[in-house]
């Protein structure tokens, strides 16, 4: 059965890494989905929400709900943005009408790997990448959405790919949105700890979230590391 999927590119994906979004489209289509993209979309409102600016976040969240409430399923290449959509009902706790509409959207919003494995039951997408890949559990995907096994199962099915765990386990990369620029030294200390868990032979560091990857890539590049940061979708779209 063909699933119709409304793609949420996320603002970072749209503006900074369109190739990740294109890879997401390719992966979803390979999994048999019909993908639509509504250019009226912008952002999930998380930056304002997490900064305490709820009124400002609500205005953006309402726009999001209006764009996506008619979709069958909303899929984003991000655990954090998806988790934000799942928090909409809490954001609108004092507005029953919007709360109901937000709940409806939240129920059908999925992070990419969870959608592929849980909703579609797809694991092997016929991808091929010859690389040693270390997996980073993005915090919101892991702890708010319970995404842990799904990306690992998808990666194990990639031909030529060797999946390794980070020695620093499930610790945060230190991004945390505005936290990364409000407390840059602290954020970097957390980041350096996270990256200390990479072994010498890792080629690629991957995650489901572009924001974590932005943080980790920024440091790896600054340090002149040979490790590449790649979004899960890019790996799954590799042939």
């Amino acid at each position: 059965m063909t699933r119709s999927v409304a793609l949420f590119a996320t603002c970072l994906g749209d503006q900074l890494w369109p190739e990740v979004v294109e890879a997401t489209v390719a992966v979803l289509e390979r999994a048999g989905c019909r993908v639509t993209f509504d250019p009226a979309q912008t952002c999930c409102a998380q930056p304002a929400f997490n900064s305490g600016y709820h009124d400002e976040a609500k205005a953006v969240a309402r726009a999001f709900v209006e764009v996506f409430e008619r979709a069958d399923a909303v899929v984003a290449p991000s655990g954090s943005c998806t988790a934000m959509v799942h928090r909409y009902p809490e954001l609108f706790r004092d507005e029953p009408d919007w709360r109901a509409r937000a709940e409806a959207v939240a129920h059908k919003a999925f992070e990419l790997s969870a959608f592929l494995v849980r909703e579609l039951g797809v694991v092997d997408l016929g991808a091929r990448l010859s690389a040693r890949v270390a997996w980073h559990d993005a915090c919101h995907a892991l702890r708010e959405l319970g995404v842990h096994d799904e990306p690992r199962r998808l990666l194990r099915a990639v031909a030529g790919l060797e999946l390794v765990e980070l020695r620093t386990g499930e610790s945060c990369c230190g991004f945390g949105g505005t936290f990364a620029v409000k407390f840059p030294e602290l954020s970097t200390a957390m980041l350096d700890h996270k990256l200390s868990g990479l072994d010498d032979r890792v080629d690629v560091l991957s995650a489901v979230d572009s924001s974590c990857l932005m943080q980790m890539r920024g440091r790896l590049q600054r340090q002149g590391s040979r490790v590449r940061a790649m979004h899960l979708a890019e790996i799954l779209a590799s042939r």
Partner: protein
């Protein structure tokens, strides 16, 4: 590291200073890693761990929702058992109660076992003014007292100090030969503190749980110093936050299964003392005084959203799990309660005006919520406190008669930041404006100099390469594909 009194207001500076101290960060990493491993091993052996957490959270939620009734029940039963119950609205009242008790009995030699509530009210300093400063008897607390510092961890107060630093401290303060052997240092502490115990006439402890049904207080520890403190002196004064009450004696079982495993990874701590009234016939003190401390708690109880903060059983698991705490330790929070629990509790006790930075000092990773034995949703409470800080609201929301007045001040407004988010929202809620704004950003990106004028970009680039806006955003490429 000599620590001057830090405050939450200077968190960013405090954190920077902590990060620059390689000895500190190394000690912290080792300690928090060790605790996290021990905790994981201990709870791995408990098949019904999640059910236990759910049960404990439910007991706490129920108790806090009828706290007045349980406090009255506790007081009645403790009194019936022969204890004297005192009530303190704030730190000053609590300190005065203890001081007056000591004065009236002519108690000069005071000993104290580890207690967060007495740290919160700065009891030692208050009693010192009167020439009655208690000797801390928990090894870690004693080290901190000798050093003139403050604890940096709820469970292990001297977690930030290496054995070499402690050895040097003992040389300096006690005149013993140099050593960095923990066995020798602990043996020295045993000898020195034994003399204090032998002479003590008043013992001060905290309370881990107070049982409403029986008036029992439970004190939990590993060293035996709390047993000494609550047994040897003729008078025992226990300082207890009003949120420590639980309904039934049998509920202790649930919490005893959770607390040591979460804190130190032990199945049980070595000692639990369950004290119901004074016990002179059983070789215990003649008098037991329980000081019930409000100090802002009644206001938190009144705040339905924030109430769960008071479910905390002070196990320290959230500290050990927190990547921020792991990196900088407890002093940087500038408050008695550090780490994730401190980041939600301190602003509620002190007010957002002075502690409004703490809720922002988190990447919201959620590791604290995962490990909390009473399931406090710390990330959601951090987000709610951020909202209130920005909205200029008071925390806790409702003023009350039990309140200390300092918390009535809202957080300082940040007009420029607020304007920034209003503009962001206005832009982002409209696809047309969003497209226009991002197009401008693309132009600005061509002038690296201009980008660096922008504070957040400068902060980012201090340690990381900045990402580049794509030449064409996805929305344009999608149309380009003519789908």
């Amino acid at each position: 590291m000599r620590v001057s009194p830090l405050t939450p207001e200077t968190f960013a500076d405090n954190a920077r200073a902590a990060l620059a101290d390689a000895t500190l960060t190394g000690a912290l990493r080792r300690a928090t890693d060790t605790f996290a491993e021990r905790r994981a091993a201990a709870i791995g052996a408990v098949p019904d761990w999640q059910e236990l957490r759910t049960r404990a959270a439910a007991i706490k939620a129920h108790t806090l929702a009828r706290l007045d009734a349980y406090l009255e029940e506790f007081t009645a039963n403790a009194t019936k058992a022969g204890a004297t119950v005192h009530w303190a609205r704030d730190a000053a009242e609590a300190c005065a109660i203890v001081r007056d008790l000591a004065q009236a009995r002519g108690s000069k030699r005071l000993v104290k076992s580890k207690s967060m509530a007495t740290e919160e009210i700065h009891l030692n300093a208050a009693l010192a003014q009167d020439g009655r400063e208690p000797v801390e008897t928990d090894l870690g607390e004693w080290i901190i007292q000798l050093a003139g510092e403050t604890p940096s961890h709820i469970i292990v107060p001297a977690i930030h100090k290496t054995k070499e630093q402690i050895g040097a401290l003992f040389v300096d303060k006690l005149g013993i030969p140099p050593s960095s052997d923990p066995q020798l240092l602990a043996a020295e502490a045993r000898t020195r503190l034994r003399a204090h115990f032998a002479a003590a006439d008043l013992g001060i402890s905290g309370v881990n749980f107070g049982v409403a049904e029986t008036g029992t207080i439970l004190v939990l520890e590993n060293e035996g110093n709390a047993r000494m403190t609550t047994t040897l002196p003729a008078v025992h004064v226990a300082v207890m936050g009003i949120e420590k009450v639980i309904p039934r004696f049998g509920d202790l079982e649930t919490f005893l299964r959770l607390l040591p495993r979460s804190g130190t990874g032990q199945h049980l701590t070595t000692y639990q003392s369950m004290l119901t009234g004074p016990d002179p016939m059983g070789q215990g003190p003649r008098e037991l005084h329980i000081v019930l401390l409000d100090n802002g708690r009644s206001r938190i109880v009144a705040d339905e959203l924030m109430r769960q903060t008071l479910a905390c059983i002070r196990c320290g698991a959230c500290l050990n799990a927190c990547p921020v705490y792991q990196s900088i330790g407890g002093h940087a929070y500038g408050s008695v309660y550090p780490g994730p629990i401190g980041a939600i509790l301190t602003p509620q006790l002190q007010g957002l005006h002075s502690a409004g930075t703490l809720p922002f000092a988190s990447s919201l990773c959620g590791a604290c919520k995962d490990v909390c034995p009473v399931k406090i949703d710390i990330p959601s409470l951090l987000l709610e406190l951020r909202r209130r800080a920005v909205a200029g609201e008071q925390v806790p929301a409702a003023p009350s008669r039990g309140a200390a007045p300092t918390t009535s001040k809202p957080a300082r407004r940040k007009p420029l930041e607020a304007l920034g988010w209003r503009v962001w929202s206005w832009v982002t809620r409209s696809p047309a404006r969003f497209r226009l704004a991002t197009a401008f950003a693309r132009l600005g990106q061509k002038l690296p100099f201009a980008m660096r004028l922008f504070g957040p970009m400068r902060a980012w680039q201090s340690s990381r390469e900045a990402p580049k806006l794509a030449a064409r955003p996805f929305r344009d490429r999608w149309r380009g594909d003519a789908r």
